[in-house]
Amino acid sequence: MAELSIVLSGEAGQGIQSIESMLTALAKRARFHVFATKEYMSRVRGGCNSTEIRISRQRVTARVARIDLLIPLTKEAIAHLGDRIEDSTLVIGEKAIVGYDRMIDLPFSAIAAEVGGAVYANTVAVGAICALLKIEAGECERGVRAFFERKGAEVQEANAEAFRRGYARGLALGPGLAAAIEPDPAVAGEIMLTGADAVALGALAGGCDYVCAYPMSPGTTVLTAMAEYSKSFDVIVEQVEDEIGVANMAIGAWYAGARALVTTSGGGFALMSEAVSLAGAIETPFVAHLAQRPGPATGLPTRTEQGDLDLAIYAGHGDFLKIVLAPGDLEEGFSLARAAFELADRFQSPVFILTDQYFVDSYYTTPAFELPLAPPTRQVVETAPGYRRYALGSSDGISPRGIPGLGEGIVCVDSDEHDQGGYITEDRAMREAMVAKRLAKIAAARKAAIPPKLFGDPRYKTLLVGWGSVKAPVLEAMAALARPGLAYLHFPWVHPMPRGVREYLEAATTCVAIEGNATGQFADLVELETGRRFDSRILKCDGYQYTVEELTERISALL
């Protein structure tokens, strides 16, 4: 067997997360590739949530519909998962609570009580699952002890005992799941982290030293991660009164020499749009992480969608450069977050990192990120007397950026139209020169754009086109289809449109857009740019990321 898909489902606050984090840690330790994703309701207690964990011999980076092993914690879990439960799904748990006919009874709480209390039920469950996975018991037990290392010897011992009992009960279930999964030694040196962590580490690598935000799911994930890093790095983290204040604070921070990050979701980002325009006008860098969730308005607060692309590229009034990046996997989450700071600084313009709930919450094993030897240098100049912030004359519209306190010049920025020194002007020639300066940066950024990346058959007939987090499910669906003449064009840089896109599309007989939104916002942009219409659009707006099976089916229906 190559892999196993395990689903845990129950109420919020019931312990799904403890089982999940212990199990994924043990599986990684046993050198399996691990992928985990969760879907949850917008409530703190109750309801019905689920976590899917894939444990595999190969790298796995997308969610699947298939469930090999289900651990329901409540009755509702069965109905919640609906037709994802098939005849082949092994359902294990407390029959007295769940009351599902087809399930194998394994009374976690009763076993936990023997050890000393209901708190150990999760560890009992993990023990049973590890037995079914045929992971070596001794190694697992060491993993359990390591997991509870900070809780003291007593807790460690009790959990080890709970684990052993669960493991024994798991073994007693018989063959259960066919064969053991082969581990992959390469996993040993790999890291396992969420999309939010990847973005946070990328931000640090990009020199981020100021973070401000107003809490909003799923953007808060990066705020929390950065707050944790503020314990070991010089990063100022501030929760601000509202997103308008957030954005203006970040721009002030950049002006004074920091590399600031804001993190939010669509509603919060909407409040920032006047400040985005300010960054454009005063040519001050700005980096926003926008973790999308379904709108309009409050929408589905804890679910996922790629519906804010138009919001991002059209944010702010007036004509000015905005760069929009959209990571499709953890490595891109890291490298694009890092690049965002360099780009913002270089082009003295706003840069947005577009992720989504699915992206920030999911995690998996991946090779450790490559880090540069030296930290990035701030792209600022020491000013001399007579320094003018908006000096004209460069072909790319970029003028050397001074910051107050560095050098003898003064740094004057104004949201009103201004002259080269930053002073208000209504001179028509100056107005036109400043507009031209700002527009020149759009052209320069397009030239510097990260080009889209082609996966699959280079002599394709059918070209799939997508951006951001649909990358992983598309690639796995393509692998499952294994069709010649099929390729996927992935865009990590979505705006301004990189050059050469038309050539990619013209080489195909059929072009299919794939997005996680209701209309195909990116497809519209590509059509506008290339004049080539998509033959089909695969779209989704139910609040969930595509499963591999779903995409496989929808793509194959078009072939």
Binding site: I244, N248, A256, G405, E408
Partner: protein
């Protein structure tokens, strides 16, 4: 040659109306900055939008003239990122108490070491005469055609209620008095509010220079500014309104001094870089 380090060699083209109180406030500001001997390169003037908020344009120093109502978040960040700079935020009553009202409340809570000068002309000047949050009840404008009905905002009482460590009211008609208060506000460690009564000659025919003279009085010699409850009582006084430093306390620590980033290292952020070995360790902590 300009005699004041913060003035210009050639006269700037100032867009205030002749007779506007803003000119007098500018004189006070330039004098305060000069007398405090602030190095010119170490001052940042921060403002939003409005006639008052144009002040940074007329001060020869670095400035951040951002969006209407949004001066304080930017100013807070500038001071937090570069504590070696002197940061002065300035703007109108509409800018700071209306559009920026939420930021005002939260700047009071955070307590960054910023001096805030608010020009209180009880009207929106730049947009030609609509009511400000400080307009008196009954004032008629082209928008409030039946007269203002909302209670005017009381910035003194509000700031004292929020435990702002320096709360003062000045009057543009008294240039020396305003200069003295501004100097103390800039020297105060923490958020300092100076609300400056100012006539708007074009759009406020009700609260004129004469009206302000008749409806204010200077705090008496020997007034003790360290009693918060007494200061609050003074802040509630109207017609006449007391002028001077109503409340002063060094009890609260400034925002940026409380930031962990400055606990051991006092350098501004621009002089620092992350330790790449620590970053590598942070990545490998995920292994």
């Amino acid at each position: 040659m300009a005699t004041n380090a913060f003035d210009f060699e050639s006269k700037p083209d100032i867009s205030w109306c002749p007779g506007c109180g803003d000119f007098a406030i500018r004189r006070s500001l330039l004098a305060a900055l000069q007398e405090l001997g602030i190095p010119r390169g170490k001052l940042v003037m921060v403002s939003g939008i409005g006639q008052a908020a144009k002040m940074p344009q007329y001060v020869n120093s670095s400035f951040f003239n951002g969006l209407h109502g949004r001066a304080l978040p930017a100013a807070t960040a500038i001071k937090a990122v570069a504590p070696d700079l002197t940061v002065v935020a300035e703007g109108g009553d509409g800018d700071m108490y209306g559009e920026g009202g939420n930021h005002f409340l939260h700047a009071a809570r955070r307590n960054p070491d910023i001096a805030l000068f608010v020009h209180e002309n009880m009207v929106y000047g730049l947009t030609k005469g609509q009511a400000a949050p400080t307009s008196r009840v009954g004032m008629r404008t082209p928008v409030q055609v039946f007269g203002v009905t909302s209670e005017p905002l009381n910035p003194m009482a509000l700031a004292i209620a929020m435990n702002v460590g320096f709360v003062a009211r000045a009057f543009s008609g008294d240039i020396e008095g305003t200069t003295r208060i501004m100097k103390r506000a800039i020297l105060h460690r923490g958020f300092a509010l100076v609300d400056i009564f100012q006539p708007c000659v074009s759009f406020n025919k009700q609260n004129t220079l004469q009206w302000f003279k008749e409806n204010t009085y200077p705090l008496e010699e020997g007034y003790k500014a360290d009693d918060r409850a007494a200061a609050f009582a003074r802040a509630l006084e109207e017609k006449p309104f007391p002028l001077g430093v109503l409340y002063e306390s060094a009890e609260r620590q400034p925002f940026e001094e409380l930031l962990p980033a400055y606990r051991e290292d006092k350098r501004p952020l621009r002089e620092r870089a992350h330790d790449m070995a620590a970053l590598r360790a942070a990545v490998m902590a995920k292994a």
